[in-house]
């Protein structure tokens, strides 16, 4: 029996201007329980692909099929954003609540605002899992680069996504933080797309990889 296709991009064309199309005829399939690595040079469109999947950017041409449904409008992507978590390359763009605990709670509160008890339980569980007890009341602006990355990842995990899209999750991190993220992905993530320059990191975590050429 064929494995369930979670994400399917067909014949995607994308460019910010009509005369500057840098993604041409791109196809991608992500199956359930698959870890897919996206490798490519700077500017090859790796982040753009992730943003197209989340509906943040609209392709000029092509089909975006997620959870076996064609997605085109903003409303179509609302469901996608509840089930797929995207870790941004720059954590500063993802963290915007004053304290760590509030930022982790931001996603769950949006999804389950009627069930505060559940949100509190979930947030505390994530804080324990990510070992953030000491950081939980700190201001997000006071965190180090590595800590911000971990908190951003914790914020995504708190939403319990079925699929994770990780954009350069270990970029600029020291060995200790990289190891922590690898352990978490190995342990907690079943289906994901990982964008990275780090070939070793991709080889260690992914079942399959796609190389994007300019």
């Amino acid at each position: 029996m064929d494995a369930e296709k979670i994400i399917c991009l067909k014949n995607i064309f994308f460019g910010f201007k009509a005369n500057n199309i840098f993604i041409r005829n791109f196809d991608l399939e992500l199956l359930k329980n698959e870890k897919l690595g996206l490798i490519g040079h700077t500017g090859s469109g790796k982040t753009t692909i992730l943003h197209i999947i989340m509906g943040l950017l609209k392709p000029i041409q092509g089909e975006v099929i997620i959870f076996e449904k064609k997605r085109k409008t903003e409303d179509d992507f609302l469901e996608v954003r509840q089930k797929i978590g995207l870790l941004f390359q720059n954590s500063d763009e993802q963290l915007f609540c004053p304290s760590v605990i509030e930022d982790i709670a931001f996603g769950p509160l949006n999804l389950h605002y009627n069930n505060r008890e559940y949100v509190k339980r979930k947030v505390n569980e994530i804080i324990k899992k990510f070992d953030l007890e000491e950081l939980k009341n700190r201001y997000v602006t006071d965190l180090s680069y590595g800590e911000k990355k971990i908190v951003a990842l914790a914020g995504i995990f708190a939403m319990e996504p079925e699929v994770l899209l990780l954009d350069e999750p270990t970029n600029g991190l020291d060995k200790e933080h990289t190891k922590k993220i690898i352990e978490l992905i190995k342990k907690e993530v079943k289906t994901c797309i990982i964008v990275s320059h780090n070939q070793e990191f991709i080889n260690e975590l992914c079942n399959r990889k796609i190389v994007l050429n300019n």
Binding site: L86, F96, G107, N110
Partner: protein, 238 residues
């Protein structure tokens, strides 16, 4: 000493509004003086970092200095002192003293009550009174949050020009550099805001920011409110 942090922010906002209106509409100098004494007593009772506090007070009083330079000479009345062509009148002096005392009483109370209150809690409490729509409160929050970000971005840009030997002077090159710097600042701020918005959408944002911790009204909060209202009433009675 009273730990103002433990008091419910909604109570603090109510008190600031009551206090500001009470003193704002008072015309009797005796009442205004009592209110000022009351704010000084609060300053002693409420735990605060006095160094920071007086720094703020001095900064905010620059406006009052201007007032002292103009108002005592501008109101007609009984002459009490003449300096060259300018005459200080009794009415002008009293009016200036009144405004100075009112202004300082209000800012002392406001600073004392709002200290250690984070912006999220302040907006949250304002939302409880339905004074401003939700969207405006979200905008205020982002304005506050990204003002600091913009400042940091400007510092980064300034450092980037400094390390390449830029020395500002009165020439076209300097003006062009500053123009480029401001343009970059705007572009980066716009890009950052778009990315932050996208990150929010990815985390289920639908126009409303939910609050992590709700306020709980305790007996001590109500006691604090009642005592303060009682003192304000006493000031008016005596």
């Amino acid at each position: 000493m009273l730990k103002i942090k433990d008091i419910d922010p909604r109570i603090k906002i109510i008190l600031i509004i009551i206090f500001s209106f009470s003193i704002g509409f008072s015309q009797n100098i005796k009442i205004i003086l009592y209110f000022f004494i009351f704010s000084l007593i609060m300053l002693i009772i409420i735990k605060t970092d006095y160094k920071k506090f007086f720094k703020k007070i001095f900064g905010l009083n620059t406006f009052i200095i201007l007032l002292w330079l103009i108002l005592p000479f501008s109101i007609k009345g009984e002459k009490i002192l003449k300096i060259y062509f300018f005459t200080i009148t009794k009415e002008g002096l009293i009016e200036t003293i009144k405004i100075s005392l009112k202004y300082n009483s209000i800012i002392i109370i406001t600073i004392l009550l709002l200290q250690e209150l984070n912006i999220m809690h302040l907006i949250h409490s304002i939302r409880h009174f339905y004074i401003i729509p939700d969207k405006i409160s979200v905008l205020i929050y982002f304005y506050y949050r990204y003002l600091a970000e913009t400042e940091n971005e400007l510092k980064r840009l300034l450092n980037a020009v400094k390390i390449r030997g830029f020395i500002p002077s009165t020439n076209l090159h300097t003006y062009k550099t500053y123009a480029n710097l401001i343009t970059h600042l705007f572009i980066r701020s716009y890009e950052r805001s778009q990315n932050v918005y996208n990150a929010m959408l990815c985390r289920g944002f639908n126009g409303k920011i939910w609050i992590w911790e709700h306020f709980a009204l305790h007996k001590k909060d109500l006691f604090f409110l009642v005592v303060n209202i009682f003192i304000i009433c006493i000031i008016f009675i005596i």
